[in-house]
């Protein structure tokens, strides 16, 4: 699924990122294949894939909501934002809506601490969030 000729173990992260962009998630067959061609154990590949919040081992929805779970955002009441996303989408962190419209995840710092609480919707950063803003942003999603 991903060309691995001449690739070494240190290229693993780049290959996983490539696969993530191409397929939207990392299927087990792909990780097993990568492990084989890079001469690594499956558990090591899985370890890298699950360490990074921007790599996903499960199929994701059309829109991926990532709310920062780090301290600055939590101090700025990210919990209220998390709850309002739960209300709007009907799913909890780590879940994907049955209709495939949204995936909801908590992520590590996305570097927008000065404008906390922050979230990423697909590849866009949204900052200074309020529950009101959330419903506006999510309504615009297809």
């Amino acid at each position: 699924m991903i060309p691995t000729q001449g690739k070494k173990q240190e290229d693993l992260l780049i290959l996983l990122e490539e696969a993530q962009n191409k397929l939207g998630y990392l299927p087990e067959e792909l990780m097993a294949e990568l492990a084989k061609s890079l001469d690594m154990s499956i558990s090591d590949v899985y370890g890298v894939a699950t360490f990074y919040s921007f790599l996903s081992t499960k199929p994701q929805g059309r829109n991926v909501i990532r709310i920062c779970k780090c301290l600055p955002c939590l101090l700025k009441n990210a919990q209220a934002i998390i709850e309002s996303v739960e209300r709007e989408t009907g799913i909890k962190p780590g879940e994907t809506a049955p209709d495939g419209k949204f995936s909801f995840e908590l992520t590590n710092c996305i570097g927008a601490c000065d404008e906390a609480p922050a979230m990423m919707l697909n590849n866009e950063v949204h900052v200074n969030l309020t529950p009101g803003k959330i419903s506006q942003i999510l309504k615009a999603c297809k």
Partner: protein
């Protein structure tokens, strides 16, 4: 191999180049507690139990992986070191399941022994504990990850001694876990008749499969009246 002179706890000692602080101390009869470290395995400095104070160093250093250098001044049991070790064990115990009297390894558990040696009392820290189901699918090994302290000794033993690379570390932070393949219960053919990881586990997380009625296989006890 050049000779290196270091000062440990006030006395001048000599060691050879490439030696770690831990090795130099042990050679001279100074006992530094270790948990994730085993002489057979690559040191990784994961548990921090073996920290020592080195003059001129901003932080305490892990003695299992820090090589000695000429003129190093080391304190292995200063108040700061002892206090740090104690807190480290307290933190390990805080997220450990903590029911020693229910555990098969109770009296041979290295974590418990170190906690006793350092006189760590009841845990001060309240941490949410994580419970995992016991994995007893394999006929050769039982894993109880609730007792795992993530020292990575099983991972290294399997990689370096058995060279089977069964284990890996997955997830992140509090969710970190020793996994097999895609986080499946352990059930591998290579584990047949191999007890390497079990013998390296400091806690009760890894154990052999105990067969029911094993105690009855011994010589019959005859009571004559």
């Amino acid at each position: 191999m050049g000779e290196i002179t270091v000062t440990i706890n006030g006395s001048q000692l000599s060691g050879s180049e490439g030696m770690t602080i831990l090795e130099a101390a042990q050679e001279n009869g100074i006992d530094i507690p270790t948990l994730c470290h085993r002489p057979e395995l690559t040191p990784i400095g994961a548990c921090r139990i073996c920290v020592v104070e080195v003059e001129g160093s901003r932080t305490l250093v892990g003695s299992c992986h820090t090589p000695i250098t000429q003129g190093m001044v080391i304190y292995t049991h200063s108040p700061k070191v002892l206090e740090t070790r104690k807190v480290i064990v307290e933190l390990l115990l805080a997220s450990h399941c903590g029911s020693c009297f229910m555990c098969d390894k109770a009296n041979v558990c290295e974590l418990r022994r170190i906690a006793a040696d350092l006189e760590v009392g009841l845990p001060r820290f309240r941490v949410r504990k994580r419970y995992y189901p016991i994995e007893d699918v394999s006929p050769y090994i039982v894993r109880d990850l609730t007792k795992c302290i993530l020292c990575r000794r099983c991972v290294r033993a399997c990689n370096e001694i058995k060279k089977a690379r069964v284990f890996g570390i997955a997830y992140r932070g509090f969710d970190s876990k020793v996994v097999v393949d895609f986080d499946q219960p352990i059930d591998k053919d290579v584990c047949q008749d191999c007890d390497v990881c079990i013998s390296f586990c400091p806690t009760g997380a890894l154990s052999r499969v105990k067969k029911l009625g094993e105690e009855k296989k011994g010589k019959a006890l005859v009571i004559s009246s």
